[in-house]
């Protein structure tokens, strides 16, 4: 058991673990509703779109969490506004804003001297550089997200399942949508330092997808997604420590590996186990 305890003697590792667990959990919780509503592409767009906000905050010496959050919210409003134009579909609006915001972020970053080092940190994450004050902000964000999800998940589910019905019973569908966008922006900035802008999408989408294969209810899927998100973050960090590989990539690889294991072997919905079960079920009736 020494190998399990050993890395914890280092402050940077303890901080990294807390940061990764918070990020993994927050992304997986919000991600459940992103996946249920088929908004993966928006998740990808928002995670890239935080970059200009991060870059500006970095240059001004302000909090990159707040800078990224503002950029995320502005972009999600922008996607809503552009896609309301009758001749453009939403995915087109997303594609344009994704690339545009990302280019703007790179352009701003390239104006400063330590360009490539800082940019690499934002793009791929640097969980070992997370400070104690970063962790405090991340914990506050995580609490906000948890409270909001507990409060709103029922309404989101109704809306995702049947949008017209949600409007018909008078749920505030517009505000509910933007609340989800705001929470997604919060989740993204929480995970930014752990896995980096380019890999956040995997933190948002993979744990819920894995959880989906084990769940017949949205609530089960949500808490299971939280579990897979946190679990992948922990295992990934250990792998990163012992194999000396980038922490963000390690976490995402573990998460994706878990997904494929579930895809093949989940009790009823895995493709291998599902087939076995169907043949078992069939055989007694045919003999």
């Amino acid at each position: 058991m020494e190998w399990l305890v050993e890395p914890f003697q280092f402050t940077f590792f303890r901080n990294a673990v807390i940061a990764a667990v918070l990020a993994g959990g927050v992304c997986a919780l919000v991600g459940t509703h992103i996946v249920l509503r088929g908004m993966t592409f928006i998740g990808g767009a928002l995670s890239h779109a935080v970059l200009p906000g991060v870059a500006i905050a970095h240059i001004l010496g302000k909090s990159i969490l707040i800078g990224g959050f503002i950029a995320g919210v502005v972009t999600s409003l922008g996607i809503g506004a552009v896609s309301r134009h009758q001749k453009l579909k939403e995915d087109t609006a997303i594609g344009i804003l994704l690339a545009g915001a990302f280019a703007l972020g790179v352009a701003i970053m390239s104006s400063i001297r330590s360009y490539s080092i800082d940019l690499t940190g934002f793009l791929f994450g640097d969980v070992l550089a997370v400070s104690t004050s970063d962790i405090r902000s991340m914990a506050i964000v995580a609490l906000i997200v948890l409270a909001a999800v507990l409060l709103l998940h029922r309404q989101w589910t109704v809306q995702a399942f049947d949008h017209t019905y949600a409007s018909a019973v008078g749920l505030p569908v517009g505000p509910l949508h933007y609340a989800l966008m705001i929470l997604l922006s919060l989740a993204i900035v929480t995970a930014m330092q752990t896995v980096g802008v380019l890999l956040i999408l995997a933190m948002v989408v993979t744990p819920p997808a894995t959880a989906r294969l084990f769940s017949i209810r949205v609530t089960t899927m949500m808490w299971l997604s939280l579990f897979w998100g946190v679990f992948a973050s922990l295992i990934g960090l250990f792998l990163s420590y012992y194999l000396d590989i980038a922490s963000g990539a390690a976490i995402v690889l573990v998460s994706v590996l878990l997904f494929f294991l579930a895809f093949l072997f989940a009790p009823t919905q895995g493709i291998v186990t599902g087939r076995l079960r169907r043949t078992e079920r069939r055989s007694p009736t045919t003999t």
Partner: protein, 269 residues
């Protein structure tokens, strides 16, 4: 109607006065529709595709702006009356692969009752249970919705509406591709609801069924082409006015409805 004051009609479940709806750049979807339905009305809404049945429902739900006229539901504007409307969409409008159980769907009918509470109350579970029992789905409450048959899924979205405990039901094609036993169960349920004073508007393509099992028929094709009991309005004239380009052949008695049925059937599938 002139002379009718708002106070006189406050008890009307549905009141439309010269209602018109126009979608941008197209000809009107509804034109000068006037209608007064007291509580307990049980009406089949009949008309070809694109006749404005969905638009009528959307207008009653306050989801489309009116180009003219006025709608009052129990004396209220549609937006303010939402808590009193149980809307049942077409079954294929929702994603049945969603990770939800039958009980989850019935509980959705309580979403506005639950509001900001973290969990449904006992009253919400009781309403969901009673709704599922009424459509004979309580024993299936723990079943994932993806594993249910079309008829069972249809019963579920009706249970969701029942759980709302609303006085007005808007049902969009509830008999589409359901099994015979579900159809009978729903028809009996609708009769019971109407007898208990609930108001039901049921959009359907099934003319023979509407004629046989509904006390009132509303023929709609952009405007009202006929409204009354089957004996009064189920006539060649009304049908031809409603299905202008579609009913070509025409015979006596039941042959009439079968011809129209055959035509609307091939039109829809």
């Amino acid at each position: 109607m002139p002379g009718h004051s708002a106070a006189q009609n406050a008890s009307a479940a549905i009141q439309l006065e010269h209602v018109s709806v126009t979608y941008a750049g197209r000809r009107p979807a509804l034109e000068d529709v006037s209608l007064m339905l007291p509580s307990g009305s049980h009406v089949a809404v009949i008309g070809p595709n694109g006749a404005g049945k969905s638009t009528l429902f959307n207008a009653l739900l306050g989801l489309v702006p009116l180009a003219g006229g006025r709608i009052r539901l129990f004396g209220l504007s549609p937006q303010r009356a939402r808590a009193r409307i149980a809307y049942i969409p077409q079954r294929d409008q929702v994603d049945w692969q969603f990770p939800l159980t039958a009980l989850d769907i019935a509980l959705m009918g309580r979403v506005t009752h639950i509001g900001w509470r973290l969990k449904p109350r006992a009253a919400d579970y009781a309403a969901a249970q009673s709704a599922l029992e009424r459509v004979d789905m309580w024993k299936m409450r723990a079943t994932p919705i993806a594993e249910l048959s079309g008829g069972q899924q249809q019963r579920l979205i009706i249970a969701r509406a029942l759980a709302q405990e609303a006085p007005l039901f808007l049902l969009d094609e509830p008999f589409n591709e359901v099994d015979a036993s579900t159809q009978e169960l729903l028809l009996d349920l609708f009769d019971e609801l109407a007898t208990a004073g609930r108001t039901l508007l049921v959009a359907t393509h099934d003319l023979a069924l509407a004629r046989r099992r509904f006390p009132a028929l509303l023929f709609l094709n952009r405007s009202v082409k006929g409204f009354g009991s089957p004996d009064e309005v189920f006539t060649p004239e009304t049908l031809e006015k409603t299905y202008t380009k579609q009913v070509v052949k025409w015979d006596e008695g039941d042959a009439l409805s079968s011809i129209v049925d055959a035509h609307t059937f091939s039109h829809n599938h």
